[in-house]
């Protein structure tokens, strides 16, 4: 799971750093910040649970942009 979280963070970091039109990319930035906070947890299970919460927060943020 941790590997997946790190992999997702790396992929998203690539997305953020690639040249794009001037959009704020708020959801992606928030996700990276959330992953960074989760990675600081000492316990594997807390890291895992926080990672899931990060994913839901991201889904909620993107849902507002794509659907709301």
């Amino acid at each position: 799971m941790l590997k997946k979280v790190v992999f997702a963070a790396v992929v998203l970091a690539g997305l953020v750093s690639a040249p794009r039109p001037a959009f704020a990319q708020t959801c992606t930035r928030d996700l990276l910040d959330c992953y960074a906070r989760a990675a600081r947890e000492d316990s594997f299970w807390y890291r895992w649970a926080d990672g899931i919460d990060c994913e839901l927060q991201y889904a909620g943020c993107v849902r507002r942009v794509l659907v709301g």
């Binding site: 997946k4 997702a8 704020a24 992606t28 839901l56 942009v65 709301g68």
Partner: protein, 310 residues
């Protein structure tokens, strides 16, 4: 002198080109909502008010016939929010609170009852006496929608619509597979993914057919996922009495347009998918409230209910 006339003629031609193709929606009343998130919509039919879940915590009732609007807050603790709005054939009204709780609400925003859900859910719609659920699922392909009665644990697959795999992070896959379903006045209703210029037309029994929307551009996943106000191929889709499909799409904003949300293109398709009509709007629109071959009622980006005569 001659050059001045050339410039005047050129400006005249440009102005004519614009006025020929663009239609100005006529405002009827409002604003009924502000520049805020529309988190759900329930439409019980042409003779009932349209209900919107706005800002994830307010219920807005729009009565087109009487040109009136009422707004009520849901009973929510600080930090709580709701998404999705579904009205069953018995008139009951449902939403999802904080991803994992199904809540029945009254028209004045009160809570009637709640059921805990075993998974997080991303969307809620209805078909007759059944609720339609989309789970917040990060793995694809999978069944996009399931149906069930409130409080029943058992769900049935509803429609053959499947979520799609992408070679992207699982969070991005979940985002690109968010389904939206629009209102209908016929047998079928339209459901769509955020990146596709296509809809799935699904009847009450779940029979599904795919309709490609000619002339509406696809938006790449990368652009969708990195934009704060992305160009959505389908912003809203409404099936009229004859089975015709009306779509609000991103289109092209007019020059100098502000930041009002919504799409600038209104397109009409036959039940077969054949393009029938296509008009550019001078104001962006967010929702289609009602449509027939002569007029379309819209909620504009400015929040006004407006009419487009065709």
């Amino acid at each position: 002198m001659r050059s001045t006339m050339v410039i005047v003629c050129a400006l005249g031609v440009m102005a004519c080109r614009h006025s020929r193709s663009a239609v100005t929606p006529v405002r009827l009343f409002g604003p009924v909502i502000g520049n805020e998130i529309i988190a759900g919509r329930a439409d019980g039919g042409a003779d009932r008010p349209v209900l919107l879940l706005v800002a994830e915590r307010d219920l807005v009732s729009i009565d087109v016939e009487h040109r009136s609007v009422a707004r009520r807050s849901l009973a929510l603790a600080d930090g709580s929010s709701c998404w999705g709005l579904a009205q069953l054939s018995d008139g009951s009204l449902w939403t999802i609170r904080d991803w994992k709780t199904l809540r029945e609400i009254s028209l004045d925003g009160g809570t009637l009852r709640e059921f805990a859900l075993s998974n997080a859910h991303a969307a809620l719609f209805s078909a007759g006496d059944r609720l339609l659920f989309q789970r917040a699922e990060f793995v694809a392909p999978d069944q996009a929608l399931t149906s069930g009665k409130p409080g029943e644990g058992e769900r049935q697959p509803w429609s053959s619509l499947q979520t799609r795999p992408f070679k992207l992070a699982r969070t991005s896959v979940a985002a690109l597979n968010l389904v939206t379903c629009g209102p209908t006045r016929a047998e079928e209703r339209a459901c769509w993914f955020p990146d596709e210029p296509a809809v799935a037309l699904i009847d009450q029994a779940g029979r599904t057919r795919r309709l490609e929307l000619a002339g509406i551009p696809r938006v790449s996943p990368e652009v969708l996922l990195t934009s704060d106000n992305p160009a959505r191929p389908v912003r809203d889709a409404f099936v009229d009495r004859s089975g015709g499909l009306w779509v609000i799409s991103a289109g092209t904003p007019i020059e100098g347009a502000g930041q009002a949300p919504g799409g600038w293109l209104l397109a009409h398709f036959a039940p077969t998918g054949a393009p029938l009509e296509r008009v550019d709007l001078t104001e962006p629109a967010r929702l289609i409230l009602e449509a027939d071959t002569r007029r379309v009622l819209l909620v504009l980006g400015s929040g006004y209910v407006a009419e487009v005569r065709l």
